[in-house]
């Protein structure tokens, strides 16, 4: 589909997965358009995600805009309400506060408030997350800002295959979808997705285990998987659940997992207070309290994100801090199901 596939066959690069998803939907459905800041330039945006699309689909379908995030979202709303399927790029997730009024008060509300006359099928793609030394204004994960907004879906894939399937689903979805792409995933590779679209709102058990459920999303899922490998060496059999979306929140999959493992760790790249991770523990304690022997969180400190490597690295959750936290919480002599 795209000229720039990963070198080994079947090895789909995350950024190419995104590009392919957009390209395939642009191809499939004339109502799809894609616009944002510098996305149609030769480079295809600052993360080189979308080169070639403008040339291939023309300036009517793929175009650059002024640095006007609120107008971007507002224009996407008006277009979506009148039959188009706009995909826009907000370059960094940190800028998501600028278009937030349109997303929250226009796009998210149309379906319900209009008495279900229509909806706003738009997708907002954005590069999120820390670890790249981009500092406090280019590293945040704004998923939690929007998790409490009824009417808008918040999706964040952890693998190229999921990215492609979920983005295609997002573009076909009749509702507004925030699609959050972790910067540190752009260069990873993985298999092509098995199905053309991946339904939004279904968490995935990406590793089965009997002793502890670790839940995360986006890059955190990779850290959790890596941590699970290490912990397997301790004799701890860890199950890993990838939420894939914060809204809808697939609590059923998490509850079912916890019913098996009786222990829950949620790993969030963001502060504990007001994050999705504490909320997830809350959902489980509301509906599955008696399955729960232990529940805790690995998150960041309650400060903005620092720039210096010696500050940023320990600030962020990682496979190591997850392993450390599990060992600290459960002790070395954790009684496992084995």
């Amino acid at each position: 589909m795209s000229a720039e596939r990963g070198s080994s066959p079947g090895q789909l690069e995350f950024r190419v997965a995104i590009r392919d998803a957009i390209a395939e939907e642009l191809e499939r459905d004339p109502s799809v358009v894609f616009f944002g800041e510098d996305v149609a330039a030769e480079q295809g945006g600052v993360f080189a995600v979308t080169p070639g699309l403008a040339e291939r689909f023309g300036a009517d379908r793929v175009f650059d805009t002024p640095i006007s995030e609120l107008a971007l979202a507002g224009a996407a709303f008006g277009a979506a309400a009148t039959g188009m399927r706009p995909v826009i790029e907000i370059m960094f997730g940190d800028f998501m506060a600028l278009p937030m009024d349109s997303l929250v008060n226009q796009a998210a509300k149309l379906w319900y408030v209009s008495g279900e006359q229509g909806s706003a099928p738009l997708v907002v793609r954005s590069a999120v997350g820390a670890g790249g030394r981009f500092g406090a204004m280019h590293s945040q994960s704004p998923g939690t800002w929007f998790q409490g907004i009824p009417g808008i879906k918040v999706v964040a894939p952890s693998s190229p295959g999921d990215a492609k399937g979920l983005l295609k689903a997002a573009i076909r979805d009749d509702n507004p979808v925030l699609f959050l792409e972790h910067k540190r995933l752009y260069s990873i590779k993985g298999p092509e997705p098995e199905h053309e679209v991946l339904p939004i709102g279904e968490a995935a058990v990406v590793r089965e285990g009997r002793d502890l459920t670790i839940v995360s999303i986006s890059k955190g899922v990779r850290d959790a998987l890596q941590a699970a490998d290490t912990l397997a060496g301790d004799g701890l059999d860890v199950e890993v659940v990838d939420l894939r979306s914060l809204r809808p929140l697939d609590s059923a999959t998490v509850l079912a997992s916890v019913a098996r493992t009786n222990r829950l760790l949620a790993v969030e790249e963001g502060p504990r207070t007001g994050g999705w991770a504490t909320g997830l523990l809350g959902v489980v304690s509301e509906r599955g309290l008696h399955d729960l022997d232990d529940a805790w969180i690995v998150a960041t400190e309650e400060t903005p994100i620092p720039y210096s490597p010696t500050l940023e690295d320990p600030f962020l959750p990682s496979a190591e801090t997850i392993v450390e936290s599990v060992r600290g919480r459960l002790g070395t002599g954790v009684e496992t199901a084995a």
Partner: protein
């Protein structure tokens, strides 16, 4: 600081256009009367406790949405504000469905979910009315992306206060850069809520702001149906021909306070009186008669419009309230 008299600037851009017939203006006048009656009815019903929360009446500003919509095709797009009853009625929303919405009834155009400030009527091309100042500007800009493909025009109605909002700036520039078929209609009634326009508007010239984006603009007597329609027709022509956006600053005045609880003591009484003399209904009526429409014909449409509104209000008042159990809400379109 008080509002200046509306000033009229000859359109530098409007070419000769086929004028509508006197009959069309009579119909438009009838629509203005419906809007006036609607606002007065809502006002009465509000005082009776039938309209809830708050409401913002557009009495005095009727010539603007009606004049603009005269120049539109039925399937063109528009977006309005919390002061949006006139926007909806001019665009085609049935008075009964709108009144029922105000009353929170199940038969309301949005099933009673939206209320006075957030009306949507997609069937009639009304992308929405927006409780957030400036929101309508974005909605119409976006609709113009669709419009550009479909040969449709899109209109944003908004107030003078909205021209100090982020939405105004970003969307006007966006629309110009993409040469979108959108018309930015500022209803300059010289006040935000309680604060005079001139006190919070740097430069004091609203239309001139469009000029800074390279957008053609016109200052229009917003109380003159003919003037509004002519300016709008020019803008529509420009939009449909691919020449991009236009801004119309329609100068007008609201007869009521800002919202239900506002006695509008901040407005000098001479100012109010001066504007009441130029009530857009009076202006239109006089002109109709001057153009040869008979007093009887004018009275006939007035009576008809009043009757239409009365029946609408009665039907709305008789309609049931929505039952949340009967029609469970969903967050997402399935």
């Amino acid at each position: 600081m008080s509002a200046p008299e509306a000033r009229r600037v000859e359109s530098p851009t409007a070419p000769e256009r086929g004028e509508p017939a006197a009959r069309d203006y009579l119909d438009a006048y009838a629509r203005m009367v419906v809007i006036r009656e609607f606002e007065q009815t809502i006002h009465r019903l509000f005082l009776k406790g039938e309209v809830h929360g708050t409401t913002h009446l557009s009495a005095g500003q009727e010539a603007i949405p009606v004049g603009v919509c005269m120049a539109l095709a039925p399937d063109d797009y528009a977006s309005g504000t919390y002061r949006g009853h006139g926007h909806a009625l001019a665009k085609g929303t049935a008075p009964e469905a709108l009144a029922a919405e105000m009353l929170g009834r199940a038969t309301g155009v949005c099933g009673g979910r939206a209320g006075s400030m957030n009306v949507v009527d997609l069937e009639h091309g009304l992308v929405g009315c927006f409780g957030i100042v400036g929101g309508s500007i974005a909605a119409a800009t976006g609709a113009a992306l669709s419009g550009k493909r479909e040969g449709r025009v899109s209109v944003a109605f908004f107030g003078d206060g909205a021209t100090n909002q982020a939405y105004f700036h970003e969307c006007l520039n966006f629309a110009k850069v993409l040469e979108l078929p959108v018309i930015f209609v500022c209803e300059n009634n010289f006040y935000g809520e309680f604060t005079p326009m001139l006190r919070v508007t740097g430069g004091g010239e609203i239309a001139a702001r469009a000029g800074a984006y390279g957008i053609p603009f016109e200052v229009v007597d917003g109380n003159d149906l003919w003037a509004v329609r002519a300016a709008a027709a020019g803008a529509v022509e420009r939009a449909r021909s691919g020449a991009g956006p236009t801004m119309l600053e329609c100068q007008t005045y609201r007869h009521f306070g800002h919202s239900k609880s506002d006695p509008a003591r901040y407005r000098p009484s001479e100012e109010l009186e001066r504007w009441l003399e130029r009530d857009p209904l009076t202006v239109a009526r006089r002109r109709l008669l001057a153009e040869g429409v008979s007093e009887a014909d004018v009275e006939a449409v007035e009576t008809e419009a009043q009757g239409e509104m009365e029946r609408a209000a009665e039907a709305a008042l008789a309609a049931p309230y929505p039952d949340p159990h009967e029609r469970p809400a969903t967050e997402f379109k399935p």
